[in-house]
Symmetry: C2
Subunit: 249 residues, 2 copies
DNA sequence: CGTTTTGTTGACTCCTCTCAAACTGAGTGG
DNA sequence: CCACTCAGTTTGAGAGGAGTCAACAAAACG
């Protein structure tokens, strides 16, 4: 089902079978999108929201000089712009990073859900607040960590999120982003991201090559990124990090 | 009433008289708090949320070395930790910056609201998403602006928020924070904030002295901070910025 | 008033950016 | 099958913005 990954393994908010069916029934349409397309422009009035089924999406803010700051990336299972339901317009753009499959839910359907199933409505609310918690982790990353820490934290976070979506085994995962994407996530230049990646590689902590991340020494990566997955509100953080991934040696 | 400033002048989400009464009735208790107290610790199970009536509160994340990054500040009218209702525990601490008055709403009352008045529930949801939109503006600030831009953007944002709360006339407002607070907001050191403040003063753009901000040249402050108030979802952005505040000359 | 916090300034360091030039690899087309 | 292209990666050299450390001044406070 299209909603299979939504809120999976989220502490105190996983969906009951009935709720999942209800949400599945609210899907209006499923679309496939090409890579690197803008799908929502800031300020546009919106009447539907987008559940990401497959692929990677980004949310970003541009400045006047063409610089861009990503404010979120989304992995399969994320209800990317559910916040457009209460907000009606967005303050940022949304774009695909890779080819993607999305399920569309009209806001009238969400009106019906919050009227008839307030507890499901509360779980939808919850999911938008996870995104806000991730924003806060990113604020900490940008405000208080150096380049190496920012990249390490991002890699740990993405590993944990993909792990709970079943798309990472905990030490290897596909990450179809460029170094420039990571620069726009971490508030760095692509040149400096490259230097950080080299250092991570030379220190045998982590390798990012041909869209594949291989974590060689999870313990040191977690330490470098000061990563603590609490803010992801995962049901059982144990399997993910850090205990599970300690270096064999 | 304690809820007078809540969602005031928020685009498409202001409360009806009836909704305001309903929310007012949900208030369990009103408390006064001293300055510089931690009021919520990350990870604690919560069964009530806090509407800020008077004073300034902060939300922040600490790192291992005692560095701190503020992820939000709150002004009167903000429902500071409403997100604790769906989330149940918070991923960060909440503390007073000044002496403060808060109104407490128990989560059972919120359960009743979302069951009986789903549209009021949707407005509560909305208010938590405004905080997320502010997080995103802060991400842009930290990721893509230099020190001067970050401080200018923060001052513009705070002016706009206080203006809509009736606590700024658009060019002068009380801001009872230290330069170290602003450093923890802007991801800088207090020394560097001091240098930026001196430059803003010497260029006759803005003066911050004895807890009072005076904007001398709003146009240049807005330009320095690349400030666009859209993300605050204010009903009528005109009175605030930038048109209203253009320098007389 | 003395004490403590906050603000101010200078000298020096260093992390990250900028600019520039290869290099690589996948695709494309002659 | 080989040039060619183009996006992405890699590396170097130099500049600069922000941090660090330290000292002192000025407020705020009890």
């Amino acid at each position: 089902m299209f909603t299979d990954r939504f809120l999976r393994y989220k502490r105190g908010a996983s969906l009951s079978a009935n709720e999942r069916l209800c949400l599945e029934g609210a899907i209006e349409e499923v679309r496939t999108l090409e890579a690197r397309q803008i799908i929502i422009r800031a300020g546009t009035a919106l009447h539907e929201s987008t559940l990401l089924v497959d692929g990677f999406l980004s949310r970003y803010i541009d400045d006047r000089n063409g610089l861009r700051q990503l404010v979120a990336i989304h992995v399969p299972g994320d209800f990317v712009d559910l916040h457009a339901y209460p907000l009606q317009t967005l303050d940022h753009d949304v774009a695909t990073m890779t080819a993607a499959t999305v399920a569309i839910v009209r806001h009238e359907q969400l009106d019906a859900i919050i009227e008839e199933q307030p507890q499901l409505g509360r779980k939808l609310w919850f999911s938008t607040l996870i995104d806000a918690a991730i924003h806060r982790a990113w604020l900490f990353r940008l405000g208080r960590m150096d380049a190496m820490g920012r990249v390490a934290h991002f890699l740990c976070e993405t590993n944990a999120r993909l792990f709970s979506a079943g798309l990472s085994d905990g030490r290897r995962f596909a990450l179809p982003l460029t170094q420039s994407d990571i620069a726009e996530i971490c508030g760095l230049t692509n040149v400096h991201v490259n230097r950080v990646m080299r250092q991570l590689r030379e220190e045998k902590v982590c390798i990012f090559r041909s869209s594949l991340v291989e974590i060689l020494d999870a313990k040191r990566l977690v330490a470098r990124g000061q990563f603590d997955p609490d803010y992801l509100y995962l049901e059982d953080p144990d399997p993910v990090l850090p205990s599970h991934l300690e270096h064999p040696s």
